[in-house]
Symmetry: C2
Subunit: 316 residues, 2 copies
């Protein structure tokens, strides 16, 4: 019994299959909440990578006040899938984005977990119905898609197919809520789920503006982070427009400025990611990075994200 | 001489034409930076509205540490356009979005300001070339488009037409930089400038997801603010993907995940803002607002924005 946790409630034991960026970040988050994590990853360097990623994540969680006094070592890689899944009530599949490999793995997970365990895939690209095709009891399979870095960004998209049962969805929503996440449940499955459709829509225009020579990569990025991006950390796009047209709110906005939106939508186009355009985008980002490595930029991102999260948590 | 300002540099005197939300918010920002603002607005209730909006904005600026010790009363509505523009080097036109009215007003402003004054319109919808059609010296007209609320959100988009001269653009960029803004200059004019094209692209999908029954208004808003919106307050969309595919950076991202983006782009569609859909959107926002008025929500937004800006300023 962990004294600082102060709860009689038995914490679940979670299996994480795939100890890469997502799996390790989730592991750090779960462990900081006092949850035992059992991992499986067949890559030879899994142990080293896992330790490094968890150690990187823990100070961020400290700064957010998560897991003070909780032992940090309550996770372990197991040599077999069967051992990793032993006695768990939730399996999180966080392997690379290859459909066939995921389908095989999920069918294998089924054979080694208890009948009442829920299986959640963190896939960003595939639909739960695609993942279920080789499973004998697909009712307990769903998608729980977190955002990079998952130990910091609260959103987790919860998506079931028509074959997923409600109890499995409820259980996963309850679990992610208990570790401080913000689960958002989709009414039905959709390519890219919810947030990656929204980011794809924004990104398409971010690429178009560069392709059309209207602005540089750095200008587009600055326009987002010093402009609407600041507001999107505070309110979603619908609520933002509710406040954009005086005291008449969203109704007034849609009546007065709906046609302006429709005119802009007509002007948006789809660029082709040609080799030349990709070269231009990469050169633009490298210029903006001013010599900083990907690792250094990631630390900067996470450090500032922690500061922003602390500010928002205090303000709410 | 304002003692606390501690500079021998003569501050510009700025005219703001149109004392609505944008004009008043900019007035608060400029005054807090020790700049005299001369306003013109022919509406009968302009004085009351202006005072109210400036008084609302000043505490936010205080919390950001802007304008401590600077007198707050250095702005005034003048009875005529000519008096408001007397002796200024910069006129900011911030009236309602009506092209014909703006064209007439800008031609009139020309006749009452000094030859070397720059005229900047805050228009979100119109191109500088459209605003210049009735002007006799269009070379000094450009767009300087801020974001709501302009005393908090740093982005100001700077757009000239082919007829706008470089010195006018340079002067306005220098001015907005001096009041702590982040001017981003477009290479050429474009409907919606830069950021409103990006927001329109995101918004189109935010509407589509509701129209298609995939999620509610509240779910879409939550998916943004608890997910990618948090990251967009810290980094733009290009840099985010530079960090999304391991140490190979943006090149690796585009090679591995570029096709996924293109697949998502093909799946995005354009909804029609029908009366039924607008009713659904308005009902969704009202549910999410939980009884809070537009005014209350605006204060919440601004208060949290100030906290986020403080966090980002400290982290940078």
């Amino acid at each position: 019994m962990i004294e600082s946790h102060g709860s009689e409630y038995a914490l679940p034991v979670v299996a994480v299959v795939g100890a890469g960026t997502i799996g390790a970040s989730l592991t750090a988050l779960f462990v900081a909440h006092g949850i035992e994590v059992r991992l499986f990853d067949k890559r030879a360097d899994a142990q080293v990578l896992l330790e490094q990623l968890v150690l990187e994540a823990l100070p961020d969680l400290d700064r957010l006040g998560i897991g003070h006094g909780v032992p940090r070592g309550n996770y372990r890689l197991w040599p077999t899938l069967q051992e990793a899944c032993h006695g768990v009530t939730l399996v999180i599949e966080a392997t690379a984005e290859r459909l066939d490999a995921k389908q095989c793995l999920l069918a294998e997970i089924e054979t080694v977990v208890s009948a009442e365990a829920v299986i959640a895939s963190t896939t960003s690209s595939f639909l739960p119905s695609q993942l279920q095709v080789r499973m004998t009891s697909p009712a307990r399979l769903l998608v729980a898609h977190p955002f990079n870095p998952p130990h910091l960004v609260p959103l987790v998209e919860i998506v079931g197919s028509s074959r997923t049962q409600g109890w499995a969805i409820d259980r996963v929503i309850e679990f992610f809520t208990s570790v401080g996440r913000k689960p958002v449940r989709l009414n039905r499955e959709s390519v890219g789920h919810l947030a990656n459709r929204l980011t794809a829509a924004l990104y398409r225009e971010a690429v178009s503006l560069v392709a059309d020579g209207i602005a540089t990569v750095q200008d587009v990025d600055d326009a987002v982070r010093y402009g609407p991006g600041l507001r999107w950390a505070v309110m979603g796009p619908h609520m933002i427009y509710h406040l954009a047209a005086g005291d008449g709110g969203y109704r007034q906005y849609l009546e007065h400025l709906g046609p302006t939106q429709e005119a802009r939508w007509k002007d948006l186009r789809t660029p082709a990611l040609t080799r030349e355009l990709c070269d231009q985008l990469v050169a633009g980002v490298e210029l903006a990075a001013k010599g900083a490595s990907v690792g250094e930029l990631r630390l900067q991102r996470d450090s500032t994200l922690v500061s922003v999260l602390r500010a928002i948590n205090k303000a709410e």
